[in-house]
């Protein structure tokens, strides 16, 4: 949790400033950004890839991407940590999909889903309540599928095996869940 505190102590404004300076090829800012965020992003890579060596390689790729794409940050309206986590998460999922024809579902099932972190900040909390409230309107197994897919990077194939249904049925369920979710989120 030490690293969690470190992220909290680095205010979003400061992270934004660091990313802007990285865009200007400021290596000291890159070092500081790495110190403030690498534990969080490594946590993302590990959770999705579930393999330490692969997560380490992925984290390297992620910071190379951050260095090369920092100038894109300012044209998004994401919070800095959301932007960084999205880069890490998308890259980890890309690697996972490239690697795996589904073989070992048990492995994925073993990863416990931690309860919402205490580090959740106030800004995210209102949005969190909204999506949590909307997920509550779904059948619990379907809400779990949505949340599990997001957090663990599970594919349709894995979800279908776990729920014991054909892939297209899984896809239909999930898409219907997403439509309900969308309706709720737009309310």
């Amino acid at each position: 949790m030490h690293q969690g505190r470190q992220i909290l102590e680095t205010a979003p404004d400061d992270l934004s400033k660091l990313i802007s300076r990285v865009a200007m090829r400021d290596r000291a800012a890159f070092d500081a950004l790495y110190r403030a965020t690498s534990a969080k992003l490594f946590g993302v890579c590990l959770r999705v890839l579930k393999d330490r060596g692969e997560a380490e390689d992925a984290l390297q790729d992620v910071y190379v991407k951050i260095w090369n794409r920092a100038d894109r940050f300012a044209v998004t309206d994401s919070s800095p940590i959301s932007w960084l986590v999205a880069i890490a998460r998308n890259h980890a999922i890309d690697l996972l999909r490239a690697r795996r024809p589904v073989d070992d579902i048990e492995e994925a099932g073993e990863i416990a889903e931690p309860s919402p972190g205490p580090e959740r900040n106030a800004l995210a909390a209102s949005e969190a309540r909204r999506i949590d409230r909307c997920l509550e309107e779904l059948d619990p197994p379907r809400a779990d599928a949505v949340r599990g897919a997001y957090m663990n990077g599970e594919s349709y194939e894995e979800l279908a095996k776990r729920h014991g249904v054909p892939l297209n049925t899984m896809r239909t369920w999930l898409r219907r869940s997403l439509i309900k979710l969308r309706e709720c989120l737009q309310r």
Binding site: G153, V165, R171
Partner: protein, 237 residues
């Protein structure tokens, strides 16, 4: 959860759902690659993805931090900065002769156009300084020429058009990494501006100039707030 056959037959369709599937991460490899390409090329699809991502962003709080191995950062630095030095290949844009020609022509043109006299370059020292400003993924390519004898900075946009709804602001990146504003790019034609003595003293080989997109009229805070549109290191030629 039962699998009624009609569920399969009535699978909902639409780009917005593909975007949500991309954000969730459930797509198979090839589908995911295809969706990733669409984000880069289809604005409407990218907007769907961004909206879904924002909805799910708060889940990211639940990823627990794990300290990576200490050696990892130096591997990253080696990849980024070790390779970068080897990969530098001279191009026309970076060639010294090109810049000498441009700088001379630019000063001459400016002198003629403005009907003003320019002191010729001193032969022995403090020759003109130039920088080529660009950024990966940015349409802007700008050349900057600084004459230390007159403390005049000239910038000309070689590629890209002035944005209609933003000002382009020029920054000198000071030793502490803080950008200091030098002024705004003119909306039409080359920009020519006197650099204050305090800033001119910092204009030397190796410092960085950057251009950011700021609200009309320039950054309201005096600090760079917008995206970096172009950036480059100043060289004496």
């Amino acid at each position: 959860m039962t699998s009624e056959p009609e569920e399969q037959e009535n699978m909902p369709e639409g780009d917005d759902l593909v975007a949500a599937e991309y954000v969730l991460g459930v797509l198979a490899h090839q589908e995911r690659l295809a969706a990733g390409r669409r984000i880069e090329t289809e604005k409407a699809f990218a907007v769907h993805v961004t909206r879904w991502q924002k909805h799910f962003d708060c889940f990211s709080d639940d990823y627990q931090p794990v300290e990576p191995p200490a050696a990892l950062k130096s591997d990253i630095d080696r990849r980024l900065f070790g390779e970068a030095r080897q990969l530098q290949t001279p191009s026309l844009w970076s060639s010294l002769g090109f810049w000498r020609g441009i700088a001379a022509a630019s000063l001459l043109l400016a002198a003629v156009a403005a009907g003003r006299e320019f002191i010729p370059f001193p032969r022995q020292s403090s020759g003109p300084m130039v920088a080529s400003l660009e950024a990966a993924g940015s349409p802007y390519k700008t050349m900057a020429v600084f004459d230390p004898r007159t403390d005049m900075l000239r910038l000309k946009m070689m590629e890209g058009e002035m944005p209609a709804d933003h000002s382009l602001e020029i920054w000198l990146i000071a030793d502490n990494g803080e950008p200091v504003s030098l002024g705004l790019m003119k909306r039409d034609g080359p920009t020519e501006m006197p650099v204050k003595p305090a800033m001119a003293a910092r204009m030397r080989d190796g410092v960085r100039l950057s251009i950011t997109a700021e609200p009309m009229g320039g950054s309201p805070t005096g600090k760079a707030t917008g995206p970096v549109m172009a950036s480059g290191v100043v060289r004496t030629i």
